[in-house]
Symmetry: C2
Subunit: 452 residues, 2 copies
């Protein structure tokens, strides 16, 4: 099967077969070796997507949708004989409604671009995955991406009012609407969000905007002599009802990696750093309470900053984590999530798994959500993730499930986590997912082999 038939149905330049271009659109940020795709569709419109899916369905050609390729689970990895469908060129903000606080966007809009457009009107787009400067909203929707602020504002799903979706056969439907409430029919919006392009291709979204904080947020950073102490601080903040707009944990290994790069200075007795932020109208009082709770939990040093530059510097430590780790070698980023009170125990299990299999692991966490990112570092000479890393990951996944948690809090299943899926979901729950997949994509053309 070639893609000439598809190229005939689309404008010139929309379908690209050049092997170099195809290869560059076949990977995301993981170490999954892609298959050989037939070509890439650089869609410019919903109509282009509809034509592509109709052709693919007729000809039983797998379609791999993608945004910017920043995924961390292999969800956008090309498979053999597939067509890669890039939504990156569909990057218009179709409407920004300030009175009703929503935006209608195309899937290729960069997350931070929407946030900036909203802030020009005193609004914000809350979901902020770490990749927000480079990832697309379509990719965020496909994975139900989280981020730092979701401890207060919820994950991507909670900012989606409605979607425009192209179904496997090429039909276009709308889900949800423009209202903040609505229960007409089943929640298709929630079903498509996080489905990693396996049920339909999102070509438009109505996203909820919120008033931007009226005051400069206050940042509180503390260093702790043990993970348990940091975990207690997290629990105390949550219990006190402070509602931080972010609450991030960085472990000693990560701090040392950052120190090695940027000389931030790490004391001998520092096991972890906790960085919180409060963005309410009057943030000083709750920030002071948070600082006091850090101290009560045993923090060795606490800094409170009302100044944007200083706040950015404190938060920068957290944001540098991934790049600092990459200086050490190749990285596999994991994404377990546990009930918040289990964070210290989960960290203990991560450390045990790492030392048991003699692998290097650095951990950062969206601690207020119980969402941990153990980051495995391995030799740059390796072309695949080494077996001991998978063995350690296996132990960590099992540990997360033992503690009432989940394999993935915000990155998605992609191809990387499919082997553990049955462990979490069990046969009957997985069967329901496959029944839904078969109902919506009977010929199995939509991103086969991913998500479920």
């Amino acid at each position: 099967m070639g893609i000439e038939g598809l190229a005939e149905r689309l404008a010139e330049g929309v379908v690209v077969g050049d092997p170099g271009v195809v290869a560059s659109y076949s990977r995301d940020q993981t170490f999954v070796v892609p298959g050989e795709a037939l070509g890439v569709v650089l869609a410019r419109s919903t109509e282009d997507v509809a034509v592509t899916l109709a052709w693919a369905d007729e000809n039983r050609v797998p379609v791999v949708p993608r945004g910017a390729g920043t995924g961390l689970a292999g969800g956008a990895t090309a498979t053999d004989g597939s067509v890669v469908l890039s939504l990156a060129r569909m990057n218009a903000i179709r409407e920004l409604n300030t009175a009703d606080q929503y935006a209608v966007v195309e899937p290729g809009v960069i997350n931070a671009d929407l946030d900036r457009a909203a802030r020009a009107h005193g609004l914000m787009y809350a979901p902020d995955p770490s990749s927000h400067e480079i990832s697309t909203l379509g990719g965020n929707l496909a994975t139900n991406a989280g981020g730092l602020r979701c401890v207060k504002y919820g994950v991507t799903r909670e900012s989606v009012l409605g979607l425009e979706v192209v179904l496997a056969g090429g039909k276009v439907i709308n889900t949800g609407g423009r209202t903040v409430k609505g229960v007409t029919g089943y929640d298709l919006t929630g079903l498509f969000v996080g489905s990693e392009g396996t049920l339909g291709v999102i070509t438009g979204a109505t996203l909820r905007l919120r008033p931007a904080p009226s005051a400069e947020p206050v940042t509180v950073a503390g260093t702790f002599p043990s993970m348990v102490a940091a975990g207690e601080a997290v629990a105390a903040v949550v219990a006190a009802g402070i509602e931080p707009s972010l609450l991030e944990l960085v472990d000693r290994a990560t701090l040392l990696a950052i120190d090695d790069w940027k000389n931030i200075g790490v004391e001998d007795d520092t096991a972890a750093m906790l960085i919180g932020q409060v963005d309410v109208a009057e943030p000083r009082e709750p920030a002071a309470r948070m600082a006091a709770l850090f101290e009560a939990a045993g923090a060795t040093a606490v800094a409170v900053s009302e100044d944007r530059a200083e706040s950015d510097e404190l938060l920068g430590i957290r944001r540098m984590a991934y790049h600092a780790s990459e200086r050490l070698g190749h990285c596999l980023v994991e994404d377990v999530c546990v009930p918040r009170s289990k964070v210290p125990e989960m960290i203990a299990r991560i450390e045990k798994a790492a030392s048991g299999h003699d692998v290097t692991v650095l951990t950062v966490a969206h601690a207020g959500d119980g969402n941990l990112h153990p980051l495995f570092v391995f030799d740059r000479g390796e072309s695949e993730v080494p077996a001991p890393v998978w063995a350690a990951a296996d132990e960590i996944f099992q540990g997360a499930l033992d503690l009432g948690g989940t394999l993935t809090g915000e990155h998605g299943v992609g191809v990387l986590k499919r082997r553990w899926l049955g462990l979490e979901l069990g046969d009957d729950r997985l069967a329901v997912q496959h029944a839904i997949k078969a109902a919506l994509d009977p010929n199995g053309i939509l991103n086969p082999g991913k998500a479920i």
Copy 2:
């Protein structure tokens, strides 16, 4: 088909065939004339539900699940030859986890009972439909119920972490988990919530609790000379980022009905009343800002109350609306939802439809959400909803859709709104819903004729 076969599989007393009892379990709070059910199952356990669904699936007997029967769309109305499955006896709070702020409940727990249990630990259960003192959490989940507080805390879905669901054939699955984030597999939790018992029967739920407000909420009530002025006040409050924990609108007709009952006193120039509440840690300042915005929008009188008794009195006006209307005759309560800025225009359309068809309509609204409840009053002598009322409702639904809104914000489709479903969803979107229904309930035994 009789129910003897089912009775044999369950303990004595679980299956009830007495016609009087069956009749009392065959209606909800609407005027839908029920069919003749075979009997009622008073389930005590997930196992009872599983046995019932397995038997019903084998024998192709429709099952109509129900909680307390407080529904306003006919979703729990018995159909001919069905078995009514009551979950009301399954009313245990299985776990209340204060550290991780969730509760594991059975479906028969009354909404307000969970909230009270949570408040004993400084927590709250946020979703509060007006029926919260009598409706069950299972019914709330089946309809994705809203309430007053969802302007700040979201609808029921946003407080659900996971579910236990019995599928059509009797298999039991769990969805979601105990974490606040998780993207393993499709969002089945969201799919079952709001599906009105047509995809599975919810036998357990893990619900998110939140810290209860640390301070006494402050209530602001204002009277307005026009709906437009009240609508402008709502828009101003939302735009200012005040985040009220409720923002309710009561129209003049409703105020007069309440006055007729309780002598609250309604000035000649009062077209509407707006009642807002702020429940943050330091509520005085935002409440004062809200009061100022009410005044700036043209309020003729504004009361601010920090006192619980006085606050309850102000809110009581809103809570009396339904009962005050019932004194005037039978009521049909509608539930349209529009983008917030369209509330004044929607109210104008409601008034036009009512006068055009010469029917009495009273309107209250969760104004901060754009969710309006036009309440049609008709003669107590009628045994069915009169044709002019349906004609007016038809105009109102069409108006809501014209304004970018939806048929139902929080009550569900049930049987009452099915005739308008195609108007909102269109054929292709409805076809997706039916495909999902067929995948999960191939024999069509689960609450047939409802929701989609």
